[in-house]
């Protein structure tokens, strides 16, 4: 008979487990509310910038007692999460980090909060003039003239890295045009048994970012003045052909490289030249992690028919319209983009967006490349301000990557890209006109 009663005990245990589980399931809801009042949720791109922001958040909490919770996502996933957050009614984030090409899309979706009224509450009429104009222009919708919906936080623009010691050794002056890059790459590469050039070939954002400077230097444009794609222009074909020639002297497998592999090759001294983001400078100068400390030269983008222009790649900080803690988020936004906080972030390796910091003596001593970075940033160009940029970049990037992998010859790859980009824009315009 005891077995029957013992079994009744079994049911009690089961009920307990269920109750415990239900509590755990529902707990986060309330868990988040108590601490939520004094906390701000920030979504960031996993990587160097995220590390900087985490330390800034800790300093901010110590100083002002407001917790800044940070969630990290890799580049493609961050865009997806933001796209979902902005399209829904309520959003989960109070502050978000945007790559500048995404800005038009989210601004168009009316997902970002206008900062002007928030400035008024602080009795300020707007961001101070210390911000570099090209960076600030990215934060306005429409571009450069419209409402201010964000503040530039990381002032990235592509830099051209080259082994200045090898150039001196072979009696060559730094490459001025892309043809120089090719010839120097061939010569030094052969002589030193190294890869003449290294670039990002992974499909999507990486390869497009590395191709734009070439395209602009050859006088090509991705979208013409009134937004029609001209991807298959002769200039574009010439630019892609040069890219393929550079590919010949690049490390095998560059078609799948992201910034990580490019940086590794430059730091291990297995490549002569390459484009990368300034965030890698500390790595190159660190003797522990790099075999070429002190032997890397920095330059603006080589020119060709037109003057060289690097693609601007600023990370912006914006407040989602759906967030109910806008003022709390704005306080942190102002603090983190203030000169003092941005200086700390610069020291941690994130290029600033304020000219005062670029010209700061102490920072220039630490980061010899600042003058070139500032110059590159001032001369940089934004990638086309289209709300459908992400789809264009993905399709264009796929064809560029296939061209580099030899799947299509340059002319055919660009023709296919042109056809698909036209279709994307048509679909977008059809949806808009409804």
């Amino acid at each position: 008979m005891e077995a029957l009663t013992q079994r009744r005990g079994g049911w009690l245990v089961a009920a307990l487990v269920v109750a415990l589980l239900l509590a755990a399931l529902l707990a986060p809801g309330c868990g988040r509310d108590e601490a939520a009042a004094r906390s701000v949720l920030l979504a960031v791109n996993a990587g160097v910038e995220a590390e900087g922001l985490k330390q800034a958040a800790r300093d901010y909490e110590r100083q002002f007692g407001v917790r800044v919770e940070i969630v990290e996502y890799p580049y493609p996933s961050l865009f997806e999460k933001l796209l979902i957050a902005f399209s829904g009614t309520t959003t989960t984030y109070d502050l978000v980090m945007l790559d500048d090409p995404w800005f038009p899309r989210f601004a168009q979706m009316n997902g970002l909060r206008d900062l002007a009224p928030l400035y008024q509450t602080k009795k300020l009429d707007g961001p101070d003039a210390d911000f570099l104009p090209p960076s600030l222009a990215l934060c306005r919708h429409p571009y450069a003239t419209g409402r201010l919906l964000a503040l530039p936080y990381v002032g990235n623009s592509q830099l051209f890295f080259y082994r200045k010691d090898l150039f001196e050794k072979h009696g060559l002056d730094p490459p001025h045009t892309w043809d120089d890059v090719l010839t120097a790459g061939l010569r030094i590469g052969a002589a030193e048994k190294m890869h003449g050039y290294v670039m990002r070939g992974a499909q999507g954002n990486p390869i497009v970012a590395d191709f734009m400077p070439l395209l602009w230097a050859f006088g090509g444009e991705l979208l013409d003045a009134d937004g029609r794609p001209r991807v298959d222009s002769p200039e574009a074909v010439a630019a892609l052909e040069l890219m393929l020639r550079l590919g010949k002297i690049a490390p095998p497998g560059y078609v799948n490289f992201n910034a990580d592999e490019v940086g590794a090759h430059l730091a291990q001294g297995t490549a002569v030249m390459g484009i990368n983001w300034p965030a890698w400078i500390p790595t190159f100068e660190d003797p522990v992690r790099s075999k070429v400390a002190g032997r890397i030269g920095y330059a603006v983008m080589p020119s060709q028919k037109n003057a060289g222009a690097s693609a601007i790649g600023n990370w912006l900080l914006a407040i989602p319209r759906g967030s109910d803690k806008a003022s709390l988020a704005f306080d942190f936004l102002l603090w983190v983009t203030s000169p003092e906080a941005m200086r700390l972030s610069a020291v941690r390796g994130n290029p600033p967006t304020r000219s005062s910091l670029f010209e700061d003596a102490e920072l220039r001593q630490r980061f010899p490349a600042y003058p070139v970075q500032q110059q590159a940033l001032l001369g940089s160009r934004p990638r086309p301000r289209s709300p459908v940029w992400n789809e264009i970049e993905n399709t264009f990037g796929t064809y560029l990557s296939q061209a580099n992998a030899g799947v299509y010859p340059p002319r055919e790859a660009l023709a296919r890209a042109q056809r698909d980009i036209v279709a994307i824009l048509e679909r977008w315009n059809a949806a808009q006109s409804r």
Binding site: F86, M109, Q203, G253, N394, S401, A405, A430, A431
Partner: protein
């Protein structure tokens, strides 16, 4: 005579309060299934007739399906998924069968080996992706290091970065993770075969190859059928490993249909088109599952 499992007659519960008894048991299950698998399919059907953008949705009729027909990327992704499924299937079957035969014979520590070979399958596919991304890395990876040790020039070997090899590389990862699945089923199938036919064959003097062909293979057929069909379903849905290993790259070389639908829906926010794509995939798998169930049920009747 062996009584087919005749369900309890409702009157076994025919008392006033009990007539509805079976439905009381089935109701929560049916409701939840309806809500979680059937309603979404209707939602999907309706969705495939609209063009969804963050700003709102607009009726688009069959525009999504029309676009699908001319979408080169869709057919590429579908083609690659089928190529992937077929090659992984044959490799997994051959390796699985070999391993099953090996462990079915008198090997010391058989159950230990079986438990060990089980591990890859239990692993989250994401972790399998991580492991093999480590192994395939051209510079840091152990594969190239081993090949260099054997004297090969691995400078041109970039595995996941080389479009002509990437798909094969991803196939190897799936073979690594799921061959144990086929091996387990075939081993169970082998162990279910009684001893008598083998003894009879031995007495009749048939060699190892004839025994395999005339006894083992035919008797193993039902298990083989089940293993291959279940693997086909899993291979068609491939997403996790490719997402970690190559995200469909280089270029478009390893894009599978699931990944393509995922990107369409969540990266380009084009739910309408993604719904249309899902609908086509749904049709294909429904036909396949109907075929599979008919096959599965037939052996039961003959057994």
């Amino acid at each position: 005579m062996e009584r087919r499992p005749v369900p309890l007659a409702p009157t076994a519960f025919g008392h006033r309060g009990h007539a509805l008894f079976p439905y009381f048991f089935l109701a929560p299950c049916l409701l939840l299934l309806l809500a979680l698998t059937v309603y979404p399919l209707f939602y999907l059907a309706r969705l495939s007739l609209y063009r969804m953008t963050p700003e709102g949705e607009a009726f688009a009729g069959l525009a999504n399906f029309a676009r699908l027909v001319t979408d080169g990327f869709f057919w590429r992704a579908l083609g690659q998924t089928l190529v992937f499924t077929f090659s992984a299937l044959t490799l997994e079957f051959l390796l699985g069968l070999a391993l099953a035969l090996l462990l079915h014979s008198q090997i010391r520590g058989r159950s230990l080996w079986r438990a060990l070979f089980l591990l890859p399958m239990i692993l989250p596919p994401v972790v399998a992706g991580v492991i093999w991304r480590l192994i395939y890395n051209p510079n840091l990876g152990v594969l190239n290091a081993a090949l260099q040790g054997l004297g090969f020039d691995t400078s041109r070997l970039t595995w996941l970065a080389d479009p002509s090899v990437a798909l094969a590389a991803v196939v190897v990862v799936d073979v690594w993770e799921w061959t144990p699945f086929v091996f387990l089923i075939l081993l169970a199938g082998l162990q279910a075969i009684p001893e008598e036919p083998y003894e009879a064959a031995r007495i009749d003097g048939s060699g190892p190859w004839q025994t395999f062909r005339h006894i083992t293979l035919p008797l193993l057929a039902p298990a083989i059928l089940v293993a291959l069909l279940l693997r086909t379903f899993d291979l068609l849905r491939l997403f996790d490993q490719v997402f970690i290993l190559t995200q469909g790259g280089p270029g478009f070389a390893t894009e599978t249909i699931s990944l393509y639908i995922y990107k369409t829906a969540f990266r380009f926010y084009d739910f309408g088109y993604a719904a249309a794509l899902s609908f086509v995939l749904l049709g294909a798998t429904l036909a396949l599952s109907h075929f599979y169930i008919r096959l599965l049920q037939r052996p039961e009747r003959t057994a």
